[in-house]
Symmetry: D2
Subunit: 439 residues, 4 copies
């Protein structure tokens, strides 16, 4: 308990710094794969704190990146990051969107490796600008058009940096190895796979992830055993047909609009799976060139989900076949591109239990839940699945936070006090694991 | 005009015989490919009149028969035909449904070959049984269950036999060759192709066909230039999936019912053709095994049509692709079987004009039309197309007839006087052609 | 334990009688609402055993009957029942298919009312006829065409009669009231509602139901807490359009075939429900009058299911709207008829626990399971829901039985020894409840 | 022939002026309802030539305008027109897009009223910018972004002004009344109805319209009897549903995307019409808010066509019902807005014949066609239908023109010599009609 008390005191001292950091990041939101400024400041802070910092191709497997913006967007984002104070050395290493960071500190040759994962990207939302909205009122609302931290990742990144600093200061008292993972592109579940496939967690024994809010909507709460991560896959589907004058020669066209419409209906009719949750959504469909022209092109953005990775696989297989058949139905070409994905996952029971014990031990929470149904997707699941597959343990927790509005809403804001809770429980749990306290 | 007068007088003398013959055939209706009794009496009469009679595999190309009933049905029909007086020798030759007949008489080595085509099959209709219905009242209504001459083919066959007799008697006065074609299975446009592909009209210079009624609903009328035969194809489509309990394991089924439903909708959405009439119809769809079972099989009966053979071909090609795609959509097997077809056709203008002249010359008609839009399908078009393709001339005419009800209606009956009109115009036209009167 | 021992001994003595009775019923299978002979022999036996027997309109609410066969079928079934030995007095009372029976015996004015429910109807299956199949080999296979006891209801009814006899003999030792319910038309979940709506279980404190086999495929097993009954609704949907010639005037038709196809696809696309299992199935679809006629009529047999009655209600509401919209889409009329339904249900935990205790106490089972996921529908759920709604307790158990083939298979047969197990546990449990032993 | 010679000489003299005027208009293209500058210069020229000029609400019935751009677009267009030299007085009168002009000159109280109609609007096309393209090479290509005269309306307007000038100069020699109609928004067939419903042609005896090119692709040709205008209607269809998280609560959404997809498929399945050409096209479909959100909104741009106004009415009625049914299918709201329309039309035979005579008489054409199948839609048909309905005569002709590329192509250009041909035949025909030469 001595160490925990120290950690709690350190976290309390950091309070102003946490707020300052979070607000700086909040004002400079960067969507997935363009977190050049955010990752740059993370890399600077971690280097300064004595961590071995890897980024660019050292942290990210390029071929496994999903849903990467086009070159123009990436370049504009790099330019803006530099204008907003990013370190050019890091930005150059991250060119092409390789904005992930792995920071490692070895406390002792023996001992477990404990990893903590934080996400850095913002949402494609225009932040509301009025006096009722605290970030606006207090002057830290988004400076970047059509980008906003509306999911709390600004807070997650801030928490990660605070824990980095605490562990740096506690270095003499710790054992094993800590790995801090700062992941890009969690929105759209695009980033984790590229880090997992780079081998970033192949040597990890304990894997921890956390999120503010969601089903824990009051500061002071914690859910230790998040369940029901839905495995998911995201696809962009492009149909290409042949235009024709709809009055004069309709039979010479190849109707991509109808192919997409037909696909949409039949995708939603995929048979339900008897072994668990299955989902399909054609979220957007844009097709056609003009009112009097046979629709010659179409783009659908779709996703599948499953209560397990196997059920999601069933949905994907069905969807792929249906999409091809719909193209054949109207004799048009089709291309599908995978732009995101997450695994199904469950906490390792032993680790969830240990987190519960730690939460009780440090005595700061007023509401400690065990099971909490997630009911959505998070690509932290990829890290968890990988670590569990190698015999390690993994857990994902929710940290209660009073919210101004729902996640992804332009009015979103969270109680900054929640950051302290998160720093404390994650740092205490990780420290305990490093020291073998859980055995 | 001498010959025409003779023909008219002969036809007038035959009146009681025409009625007797027609009523006998009317009482013994036989659906397509089962015209064993009808064809048998035709063959007997033609043989007696001195024609060379070919039937069975001499008249029909077996592999080109479409929509043939199953063996049980064929055998039952053969048995009934024998019981109703068919000649066993002919019936044996026609075994398997090869009920077509070609009767040839050569008048002189040189000179043109003129063919006349008559259809013999009945409809799948149960004839009404009440005093208002003349065939019932006068005792010649159908003796065969679920079969009725509701389209006038009983009259067509009768007319053909009368013309045979006239030409036999006029033998010394004629030149060239006459071919009388008695075709099975016109309903469902199934029979003509098998005779055409047997080469039955490869040597024909002039081809004549005729129908009672349709758009000529009054006795005494004639339409000499029937236009707008729709080319058509008929398909049976069998989808085969995999059953599964719809509550316990829906994902293990392969849904043939939905494949058929999907096919039906998308078939009807085939793009209209800018160059003429196009049609598609899914006429029947039966699918599934039980309420709580994923539909594991489906049968669709469909047809395409086109204002020309090319447009029908476009519809067929589209339909084939859509059907395959619908099967792929639901991962089920599919088989399509062609069960009928007719070509698009138009009368040869010169021949239509000659018929008009003959109609005026013989002076029996009170209403002589030229153009008449057919708007439906008739497989006489196959004979016409074949003859025209070889440089011959072809025409199809309508013979006016007062009707008791529409074609294919269980109350159908036609004015028997129309048979005389038909015998006269067809025999006079054919005789004129044989003698080169049209040049 | 004294009473339990007595019951077990009585059941053992009945063994030959159980087999004889079951085989007689097996040889005379009667589908739902036509159980005239079965119900007649049940009524005779119960009367003889001293029960107050109610049938016809005293047991069944006519207006709540679902999926009743047509009058011709009912009359043929009555006739056959009489020929096969049914008591004409009962058959007359049951005319119209009112074949349900309630048998009551009052042991003491005070004390609980305990109901046991047995189902009597057979399946629409043709029993296999070969030496491998015991019922055939031993001479008791189905005498009735296209009907077979392929789900074990012959055994259920037999068990019910045995328990009736036991309770009749134990009359002096029991308290409260026992109600034996013999339900028609469980297949298609059609019969229970009409008995529930007649008020048959409004006064019941404890409700017991049982089934052989299903997920308990070995004799000697028992599952005490069957879960996950799916609520379900069954509908017949009739679309009525207007026929038209598909070539000559397609625009004058109203296409009921396409309305049904459109409904089928969109029904399967009803959004999944996040709170539990949802199901939809268009099991059969038959539409159209002929290949060349715009499809003028269609019949779909569909079902919805839900993990709870509320989810099934959601599916029903969606389905109703979609069906109406599909009719509007093609400007055709539509009628939906509810032909079956079952509620969602769960065992009352206290009662499941008491059954478990009894099962252990009597010591005859070699495999006592608690939870068992049903994953299908059973209209015993209506009785259970009604009793629970009035504050009573309800439980449905599975009795293990070696099976020759799956339920509803033409090779189905079950180990007749299972009947003894069922008599013993149900009678012991009911007796215990009557005597307040569970408190 | 004296008058015709005069007209031809005048037209020849105007050649440089025609080119100058056309190129000025070509450089300043204005899409439908925003022809502020074009209409302003037309109004100025006509006023100067002595016509009574009506515009704004005097020429256009506001409530009958279809497909009007939003207020922002209109205001930007007005501003640009003023910057590009439009007369502020006219622009103010035309505010809101009321850019139609009626110019009247009365030659004598008695005598017929002859109307000529010209269209002024440009296409939503970006003109190609390279040396191969004459307008670019010679410095008169479009100055306005995303707007181009790619259909020849710049030429039509120029022709109209030239005829105005000729008639003004010939005033003493003419009788009756001439009405020159300069119509906005022909593209999308949006403008004519608002002028017809304003009564602009209620008093017209002869109505003339013309178009360059289309099926007459060589300068020197003319088609006097254009047939087969397709009646058409254009609709925007807005579906509004309810968004929901596609993973967490799909059942709470109302899926407008699927409603639109369902509508699209079923619209294309509207039964073909046996009496003539029918068409339907869902040209564009854009739906949904995000990949993981139930599609909450959708916009479809559709059109129907018919070989006659009645067939188009059939298609519209079917389409309206289907759209409403698709909305009901997914329980979403729907609004349809008519944004364009044209009638079916045929030339009055007598007038077509008179034009043919005039064309032969003036002897300038090297190819005079009678019948020419239009196969598309033009809202000049509204004027024609209205005039014919009042007992007047109407004709629409094609003036041959060598084309650089097809209509609506960014490379479009036409042989400016065609303008002279058009001026001559229209002016000579109109003059002849005014003087009663056609009787």
């Amino acid at each position: 308990m001595r160490l925990e008390k120290k950690i709690i005191a350190m976290a309390d001292d950091m309070r102003p710094e946490l707020v300052r950091r979070r607000r700086d990041i909040h004002a400079h939101p960067e969507p997935g794969w363009t977190e050049f400024r955010t990752a740059s400041l993370v890399a600077d802070a971690l280097t300064q704190a004595g961590y071995l910092v890897q980024t660019g191709e050292d942290a990210i497997k390029k071929s496994a990146m999903m849903g990467v913006p086009d070159a123009t967007t990436l370049q504009a984002a790099q330019k803006r990051a530099l204008e907003q104070g990013a370190n050019p050395i890091w930005v150059e290493k991250m060119a092409g969107g390789l904005t992930g960071i792995i920071a490692t500190m070895v406390f002792s040759e023996h001992g477990p490796t404990v990893a903590l994962r934080f996400d850095m990207d913002s949402n494609d939302v225009s932040e509301v600008q009025n006096e009722q909205h605290r970030p606006y009122r207090e002057g830290f609302s988004s400076l970047n058009a059509n980008a906003m931290h509306a999911c709390g990742h600004d807070g997650h990144t801030t928490v990660g940096l605070a824990i980095a600093q605490i562990f740096s200061q506690l270095k003499p008292e710790l054992q094993g190895t800590v790995k801090l993972i700062f992941q890009p592109a969690e929105e759209g579940v695009r980033g984790a796979r590229a880090m997992v496939e780079n081998g970033d967690v192949d040597d990890v024994d304990y894997m921890l992830g956390a999120h503010f809010g969601l089903k824990m909507k009051q500061t002071g709460g914690i859910a230790c055993n998040v369940k029901g991560f839905l495995a998911t896959s995201k696809y962009d589907v492009h149909f290409t047909g042949v235009p024709a004058h709809a009055g004069a020669a309709p039979e010479t066209g190849k109707n991509a609009l109808l192919a997409a419409a037909c696909a949409a209906l039949n995708l939603h009719a995929i048979a339900r799976h008897s072994e668990g949750v299955s989902r399909i959504n054609v979220g957007t469909l844009c097709a056609g060139s003009g009112r009097n022209i046979i629709g010659d092109k179409a783009l659908m953005k779709i996703e599948t989900r499953g209560g397990t990775s196997a059920i999601n696989q069933y949905m994907e297989t069905e969807a792929q076949r249906i999409i091809k058949a719909a193209a054949q139905m109207y004799d048009v070409a089709v291309e599908t591109e995978k732009v995101g994905g997450a695994a199904g996952a469950n906490n390792t029971p032993a680790l969830a239990k240990y987190i519960h014990q730690q939460a009780e031990k440090i005595g700061i929470f007023n509401n400690i839940l065990d099971d909490c149904d997630f009911g959505a997707s998070e690509d932290c699941s990829y890290f968890m699945e990988q670590v569990q597959a190698h015999g390690g343990q993994a857990a994902y927790i929710l940290i209660g936070a009073d919210l101004a509005a729902g996640h992804h809403d332009s009015h979103f804001d969270f109680d900054e006090a929640a950051m302290g809770y998160s720093v404390k429980i994650l740092a205490c749990t990780a420290a305990g694991l490093l020291l073998g306290d859980n055995k």
